[in-house]
């Protein structure tokens, strides 16, 4: 799919949720723009992101009760919604991180196995 631009990958839905959650845990309360910048920065532009999808992710996380939101004032003195991770969100993040590590480990092993032949 993403053949045209090697090095860039589409972001999987579940992965984005995980990244957003992790960002909020690491940086504390953030608005959507801040989250998008952080992901951009951390991924060193490897991940190509429609920044709007961050909001879908935020909605989803909020519906699940893993994050909460509040209105505040952003750096440029604008009204913005600030999101912060909840206690349940932290637990979920721990669970998902562990899951992710396990699965990516397995996948990595499988892939390296195939590559060795």
């Amino acid at each position: 799919m993403a053949k045209g631009k090697p090095g860039k990958s589409d972001v999987l839905q579940g992965t984005l949720d995980l990244m957003v959650l992790k960002t909020l845990e690491a940086l504390g309360p953030q608005h959507g723009y801040g989250i998008a910048r952080r992901i951009e920065q951390v991924s060193q532009e490897v991940l190509r992101l429609n920044e709007g999808t961050v909001y879908t992710s935020l909605l989803r996380l909020q519906q699940n009760g893993w994050i909460s939101s509040d209105w505040g004032t952003s750096e440029n003195n604008r009204q913005a919604r600030f999101y912060s991770i909840t206690r349940r969100g932290r637990k979920q993040l721990a669970r998902e991180t562990e899951n992710w590590a396990r699965i990516s480990g397995v996948i990595a092993r499988v892939l390296s196995l195939a590559g060795g032949r």
């Binding site: 429609n50 709007g52 879908t56 519906q63 699940n64 952003s74 440029n76 009204q79 919604r81």
Partner: protein, 884 residues
């Protein structure tokens, strides 16, 4: 789970705020884009470019908003409503298909609603009696008559009553007819003469007064009566004051002891209860083991099962059969009351009808699926595009299901209405002697059943096309439709399979119907042994109060028949104790010995039914006399005892000699020698389909009964003489009650009512199945011809004759029908034996019926293929190929 619950809650909350623009969210998105823009401006872009780049990086805002809406509300509800709307629009747009589907479904559901009402009311609904599960009917098994519903001896009842661990109470009773006389018009009612346990067995307290108890049943006690609820409301105006008063029954004054509650006693037609008065009887005749003149009903003790009691009774009954020679070849059978009321023949009829209606329903389902599939085929293009655009198969299935749900709703409602109407017809056609019919109507259980049928229709008719659509790769469909070849092969194959199934089901149904028709023809052809036209029968009982003994009975009936003869239009009259073809009266079985023949077990006696007749009986009935004479006025109480025997009996007792002048006696009962003066033609007494049995006739003056059936041979339709016959009888005795007035033709008709009922319904169902199968095969053939237009065009262009094309299509139809017929014949072969009990003189695997039905269905298939075949043959190659 809690997370999901929270989602649900937030969606629910959102449901009430729907439609309000969510400006906060929009502000948030705008804020984000603003920050991005500022960033690009800082990097040196013009504000315009920066804004554009920011929007691009942000992505599709509209899609985001929609996604958010969907996440926050119940989008599936919206989709369902959308699907329903879309389905409705499609249904309206194809009125032909929709009407066919609705008609098919309402036919299937209607038939099942009606038949299931019968099954539920007669077989499934519990009896209205107190704790009815413990009510049982002990009966005698007579191996000689292949019957397990025989009446019982009083000594048997006493034996059972002694087993208090098995039975809580055991009653003996005898149904009889009574005349209610007095100031009002005499009325004949059904009555029960019951012993002291009867009301304890039935178990329900009285509405008023007291039940008949032991004191009423001691010999010599004053007679008391208990009134049935219906009679009490009808004749006594529901007046509680009637208890303790006297009423006139059979011309005698009887004290009313009580009134029962409605629906609390069995048999349900009994309206008066009188005591048997044999409690503690010690006389030999009452206690004789072969005096099978009672019926019994009993209540099982708590905690014992029917099987336990039955096995105990079998042991006891076996011992009695060994102990008493007059009980050889008998035992006891315990019926549940429910099983006794709905006798096996009726039960079988109901089950066959139910099976037939289910078959019709199956065909209806198949047809429905076929119709939707056909429509699905014309929509293949649309479905393929939606599939290609990313609609998953679940989404497509939902669409199809919504559509079939709409159809099922409409078809179901129409079906229930049709069922209500059908039930009315069923009840009108139903034979008059079916018990419990009053309790048959469409109730909640029936409605639940009909609803379940609708749900099955939704799933079946919706899923078949949905699965089919899901299995097709959109690319191929699009390629095919683009090429104009329309639908792929697989859809055609499913539809052909469905048609084969329809034919198979139809042939099972039609074979069943065909067998019943043939059986009914056989019954129709049975010769009752005498001409039944212009013959009126009625029952008269002479009350003991004014006709104290046998001489008065004889004189009374002679006065009646002679005076009836004076009515213009009456050809001749006579009287008998029992009428052939189950026409009424009392059937008395006796056993006979020739003069000099030793008594059993040294030799075998001959059983025969004993009838008491007036002189002129054979002439009036026009029963042919094979030899000798019939009774005359000279056969009196003082003249030598005489008897007329039937031909079958003559052959059996006197194989190689003339029976005339021989003497026989009924050795266990009357035990007097009677001289045979005549041999009469054979008759069937227990109904048309009964085997020919032995019969003997004796003159009424030599054995005078107080209740006889009068027979009146008329010159023309006997109905027009009815009122003059009545007034003639009442001019002799105003207080005589006349009952069971019917022509002999009616008797014969009534006897054929049940087989006719079953045959008629099965033919209706078979016709419906035939119609549905024809529609099914027509649809498939028409479709496949349309599909293959180009092929036919090429064939004709290449030199094929139109007859060849015609044959090709016809052959296709016959092949489909043939496959269905073969499967159906196998099914019919397996299933028709289940209806063996309903068939008279026809084998369940009657080859002629199977052949005929197969031929019929093949013809129907050919007829249905006629139009499509002609269309195929008329294909103009130039037009079709240019059209390409």
């Amino acid at each position: 789970m809690p997370a999901r619950l929270r989602t649900f809650a937030s969606r629910l909350a959102r449901l009430f705020r729907r439609g309000a623009p969510d400006s906060a969210f929009d502000d948030e998105l705008e804020g984000h884009i603003g920050l991005l823009t500022e960033r690009y401006v800082r990097q040196g872009m013009t504000p315009e470019d920066a804004r554009y780049a920011a929007r691009r990086q942000f992505g599709n805002q509209t899609a985001l908003r929609e996604e958010r809406n969907e996440m926050q509300t119940f989008a599936s509800w919206d989709r369902l409503a959308q699907d329903l709307r879309y389905g409705l629009r499609l249904l309206v747009r194809n009125p032909g298909v929709t009407a066919a589907a609705l008609l098919t479904l309402s036919l299937g559901i209607g038939a099942n609603t009606a038949v299931f009402s019968l099954v539920e009311g007669l077989l499934l609904k519990p009896l209205p009696y107190q704790d009815a599960a413990r009510l049982v009917v002990p009966a005698t098994i007579f191996q000689r008559h292949k019957s397990d519903r025989g009446s019982v001896a009083y000594a048997d009842v006493l034996d059972w009553r002694a087993q208090s661990s098995l039975f809580e109470a055991v009653a003996a009773f005898r149904p009889t007819g009574l005349d209610l006389t007095g100031d009002e018009e005499p009325e004949r009612v059904q009555a029960l003469v019951v012993d002291e346990d009867y009301f304890r067995v039935m178990g329900r307290p009285m509405r008023y007064g007291r039940p008949l108890a032991l004191g009423d049943n001691l010999p010599g006690a004053p007679t008391a009566a208990v009134l049935g609820h219906a009679l009490w409301t009808r004749r006594f105006g529901a007046d509680p004051g009637v208890v303790g008063r006297n009423v006139e029954i059979n011309g005698a004054q009887v004290l009313v002891a009580g009134v029962v509650q409605p629906d609390s006693t069995w048999p349900e037609d009994a309206e008066v209860f009188l005591p048997l008065k044999i409690a503690g009887a010690r006389d030999a005749d009452t206690l004789r083991r072969d005096n099978h003149i009672y019926q019994s009903v009993a209540r099982l003790a708590r905690g014992v099962s029917l099987q336990q009691v039955q096995s105990r009774l079998s042991v006891m009954g076996g011992r009695i059969a060994q102990q008493f020679t007059n009980r050889a070849g008998t035992n006891w059978k315990l019926h549940t009351l429910a099983g006794y009321i709905v006798e096996p023949y009726l039960r079988q009829t109901l089950l066959v009808l139910f099976a037939a209606s289910l078959l019709v329903l199956l065909i209806a389902y198949v047809n429905l699926a076929n119709l939707l599939l056909a429509r699905g085929a014309t929509r293949a293009h649309e479905v393929a595009i939606r599939n290609a655009l990313g609609a998953g198969w679940k989404r497509l299935a939902q669409q199809f299901l919504a559509e079939s749900a709409l159809l099922a709703l409409g078809g179901g409602l129409a079906g229930i209405l049709a069922g209500k109407w059908g039930l009315k017809i069923l009840l009108r056609l139903a034979p008059p002697d079916i018990p419990r019919l009053a309790g048959v109507h469409i109730d909640l259980t029936v409605l639940a059943f009909a609803t379940a049928l609708c749900l099955v229709a939704v799933v079946f008719a919706g899923l078949v096309p949905a699965l089919h659509a899901a299995r097709q790769a959109p690319v191929e469909v699009l390629r095919e439709t683009a090429r104009g070849a329309s639908q792929g092969l697989r859809g055609g194959r499913i539809r052909r399979l469905l048609v084969v199934a329809e034919f198979a089901l139809a042939i099972i149904l039609l074979t069943g119907a065909g067998l019943l028709v043939r059986s009914f023809q056989r019954i129709r052809r049975i010769d009752p042994g005498f001409p039944t036209a212009n013959l009126l029968t009625l029952q008269v009982a002479l009350p003991r109060a004014r006709y104290p003994g046998p001489p008065q009975y004889a004189a009374g009936f002679e006065q009646l028949t002679t005076s009836l003869r004076r009515i213009p239009g009456v050809v001749s009259t006579s009287a008998t104790s029992s009428l052939p073809v189950d026409g009424g009266g009392f059937y008395l079985g006796r056993v006979f010995l020739r003069e000099g023949q030793p008594e059993p077990p040294a030799s075998a006696d001959t059983a025969a039914a004993w009838s008491v007749v007036q002189p002129g009986y054979f002439a009036t009935m026009r029963i042919p006399l094979a030899a000798g004479r019939e009774f005359t006025d000279r056969d009196t109480a003082d003249s030598p005892l005489v008897i007329v025997i039937s031909r079958a009996m003559a052959r059996q007792m006197f194989p190689n000699q003339s029976p005339l002048g021989q003497r026989i006696r009924s050795w266990r009962d009357e035990n007097k020698y009677r001289e045979i003066v005549g041999v009469a033609g054979d008759l069937r007494y227990n109904g048309l389909t009964d085997d020919i049995g032995n019969n003997v006739y004796v003159p009424h003056r030599q054995d005078s009964w107080s209740r006889l059936q009068l027979v009146v041979r008329t010159a023309r339709d006997p109905h027009i003489l009815l009122s003059s016959i009545r007034s003639q009888i009442w001019s002799i005795d105003r207080k005589l009650s006349i009952s069971a007035v019917q022509t002999m033709d009616q008797v014969v008709e009534n006897h054929m009512a049940q087989p006719r009922f079953c045959m008629f319904l099965l033919c209706v169902f078979g016709g419906a199945a035939l119609l549905l199968a024809a529609i099914g095969i027509f649809g498939v053939m028409a479709y496949s011809v349309a599909e293959r237009t180009r092929e036919f065009g090429i064939r004709i262009a290449m030199g094929a004759l139109r007859a060849d094309v015609l044959r090709l299509v016809a052959f296709g139809a016959v092949r489909l029908a043939g496959a269905g017929i073969l499967c159906g014949l196998a099914g019919a072969f397996a299933l028709t034996r289940l209806m063996k009990a309903l068939l008279y003189d026809v084998s369940p695997t009657d080859a002629a019926t199977f052949l005929l039905v197969s031929a019929l269905l093949t013809l129907v298939a050919l007829a249905a293929a006629y139009l499509p075949a002609h269309r195929a043959a008329k294909v103009d190659p130039v037009v079709t190929l240019r059209y390409e």
